[in-house]
């Protein structure tokens, strides 16, 4: 019966704050890093921060819906990885400088 008392309880807002920090790190990383693969990882970080937000709200609202949404997000993220990596490989195949965004510089004006 002391199960609840024995565990420390963390307020939901803390999880939300962590998620917001993770999301910001992802967004700033995406906008500042030059390596396309790292930019891609930053997108994943942002999506996982959103997942954490969904789960936290689901728990706070006592609603299973928010947890179900995480599965949808995971599926979409997986589909994006497949297509994104294929595009990255196709553009940077055979380039010596590697997958940097700076080498994608034909289109401008």
């Amino acid at each position: 019966m002391n199960l609840v008392a024995a565990t420390t309880s963390v307020p939901g807002a803390w999880y939300l704050a962590v998620a917001a920090v993770l999301f910001t790190i992802g967004a700033v990383g995406l906008l500042s890093r030059r390596n396309v693969l790292v930019m891609f990882m930053c997108v994943e970080l942002m999506l996982n921060a959103v997942n954490l937000t969904f789960v936290t709200f689901a728990r706070m609202l006592d609603d299973i819906g928010g947890q179900v949404l995480v599965f949808f997000t995971l599926v979409v993220a997986a589909a994006e990885v497949v297509v994104g990596l294929a595009i990255i490989v196709s553009i940077f195949r055979g380039r010596v400088e590697g997958a940097t965004a700076d080498s994608a510089n034909i289109l401008k004006g």
């Binding site: 019966m1 002391n2 199960l3 609840v4 939300l16 999301f23 992802g26 967004a27 995406l30 396309v36 930019m39 891609f40 997108v43 942002m46 999506l47 921060a49 959103v50 937000t53 969904f54 936290t56 709200f57 706070m60 609202l61 609603d63 819906g65 928010g66 949404l69 949808f72 997000t73 979409v76 589909a79 994006e80 297509v83 994104g84 294929a86 595009i87 990255i88 196709s90 553009i91 965004a101 994608a104 510089n105 034909i106 289109l107 401008k108 004006g109």
Partner: protein, 508 residues
């Protein structure tokens, strides 16, 4: 309470009572018929071409099939329209999918975009030696995602539709495998698209936290029964949703990707992207903000006002400086997004019907324009400078005449659909007392008219370059031009039936 639940007997008693039987929602197949036809048709097309090992497809086989599938999907909305007319429309499948005039109208627009893009693509793909079924399958899948978006009644369904639409578009943008520009466009579109999707999803999460649901109907209920004022969570959620959708419709300041992606993508894919992605993005914007969050309009209207002004002014001004026709049309599409945002900002019935009319008219105008550009670009898809258009009237008079009509329509000259469309949204702004917005819209339309007229002058007044080869209009593009010209003139001269259709399609 949790402690009591954790004792085995209490836990079992609870589950016995609750999980006697799992009730799944009733799936109303008619409500999702257009999506199922588009996506099922795409998969069938892919399967058939792989099983039959078609390496050199007969002319117009794939384009014809895609156009047929898109027409079937558009015809399937007839059943929806019947429901709406008899007052049996509404939300289906656990309230996730909406069947109303709005979804019917925009589904027809997206299906038209698929069919027209497929017909333009057929000749293009054979000319560029890229013939295969992939382009058509991706366009159908992408259109299927767009149809999911226009009928979404739940934020997560909206997100899934957005992703189905976008992921296929990333591949379409990079589908010219031998052009480095196409690959670069795909990477740029992908990185910024994924970023905007993540922002949009975070907006969904915060809105869910603030209102307790992702269902648009329940959000409306919550907002109308609770006084939500100065709720930081909801405001942040709305802002992020707006940013996410702002990227999709390429509104300033979320437009950076559009010129590069429009320029680099294969020309038929650019046309499809401009028509379908914009339609679906605006559908999301109208459903989320004008319909579900109507009570919070004091929060979002000023932001949409700013986006509209920035898009119109910056889109028009930067378009004047372009020397590449596809970049110019990209900036012009940004400025069109600003005009449609006027209808969103008004947040009235007239505003919504004006935006809907604009989207339908723009679909045909932009696909017709890119059909002309596809022919003029010739093999290699590289001749896109404005100089290429010098003396086009002498090289290919029909093409020049048709392009003139589309440029007039984009500029909003009377007797074209573009005029009726611009008139509709500006009138809605005036009725909603947004006088400043209406005046800025008219001024930026004047700036925009300058660069459309400049191309027309080049086509008719300048001499063609000496080595310019003659141009022939292939059959597929010919059909597209006939259809788009007919629609543009019809909606410009006798707009009443289409206006009535748009008015009956407004969100309740």
């Amino acid at each position: 309470m949790l402690g009591a639940l954790l004792t085995p007997s209490a836990f079992l008693a609870q589950t016995d009572a609750v999980t006697d039987r799992i009730v799944t929602p009733h799936v109303d197949w008619v409500a999702i018929a257009p999506t199922m036809i588009l996506i099922g048709g795409a998969l069938l097309l892919l399967l058939a071409s792989s099983l039959l090992r078609i390496t050199r497809p007969p002319k117009y086989l794939y384009a014809g099939s895609s156009a047929l599938i898109a027409s079937a999907a558009a015809l399937a909305t007839e059943k929806h329209w019947e429901r709406v007319r008899h007052g049996r429309g509404g939300a289906f499948i656990a309230n996730a999918v909406k069947v109303d005039g709005f979804s019917v109208f925009l589904t027809v627009a997206i299906c038209a975009a698929i069919a027209l893009a497929a017909l333009i693509a057929d000749d293009y793909l054979r000319r560029e030696r890229l013939d295969g079924v992939e382009f058509y399958v991706l366009a159908l899948l992408s259109g299927g995602g767009g149809v999911i978006m226009v009928s979404a009644n739940d934020l997560i369904v909206l997100f899934l539709g957005l992703e189905v639409l976008s992921i296929a578009l990333y591949v379409l943008a990079g589908s010219h495998v031998r052009r480095a520009e196409s690959q670069e466009a795909a990477v740029k579109y992908f990185v910024l698209g994924a970023f905007s999707s993540a922002v949009f999803l975070y907006g969904i999460a915060l809105t869910y936290g603030a209102t307790g649901s992702t269902n648009l109907g329940e959000i409306t209920n919550y907002l109308s029964t609770h006084v939500v004022f100065g709720n930081g969570l909801l405001v942040a959620g709305m802002a992020l949703l707006l940013v996410g959708l702002g990227f999709k419709i390429a509104a300033v300041p979320f437009h950076m990707w559009a010129p590069d992606v429009y320029q680099g993508s294969p020309t038929p894919a650019t046309g499809f992207m401009a028509a379908a992605a914009k339609t679906a993005g605006f559908a999301g914007l109208l459903r989320v903000f004008v319909s579900a969050m109507a009570t919070q309009r004091l929060d979002w209207q000023p932001i949409v006002w700013t986006l509209a002004v920035l898009s119109m002014v910056i889109g028009s001004v930067l378009a004047v400086m372009q020397t590449d026709i596809k970049r110019m049309l990209a900036y012009s599409s940004i400025s069109h997004a600003g005009f449609i945002l006027i209808g969103v900002q008004a947040a009235t019935q007239d505003g919504v019907s004006g935006a809907l009319f604009y989207l339908m008219a723009y679909t045909f105008i932009v696909l017709g324009s890119f059909a002309v550009i596809t022919v003029v670009a010739r093999q290699g898809d590289a001749a896109h400078t404005l100089d290429t258009y010098k003396g086009l009237a002498r090289r290919q008079p029909i093409l020049a005449l048709v392009f003139t009509l589309f440029l007039f329509a984009q500029a909003g000259v009377p007797l074209t659909s573009g005029f009726v469309a611009k008139f509709g949204v500006i009138q809605a702004a005036v009725d909603a007392h947004s006088y400043a917005l209406a005046i800025i819209a008219m001024l930026s339309a004047v700036v925009a008219a300058f660069f459309y007229l400049r191309i027309i002058v080049l086509m008719y007044m300048a001499d063609p370059e000496a080595d310019a080869p003659p141009l022939t209009i292939p059959l597929g593009v010919g059909i597209v031009l006939v259809v788009t010209v007919a629609f543009t003139l019809f909606a410009g001269i006798l707009p009443q039936s289409l206006i009535d259709f748009a008015k009956s399609a407004v969100l309740s």
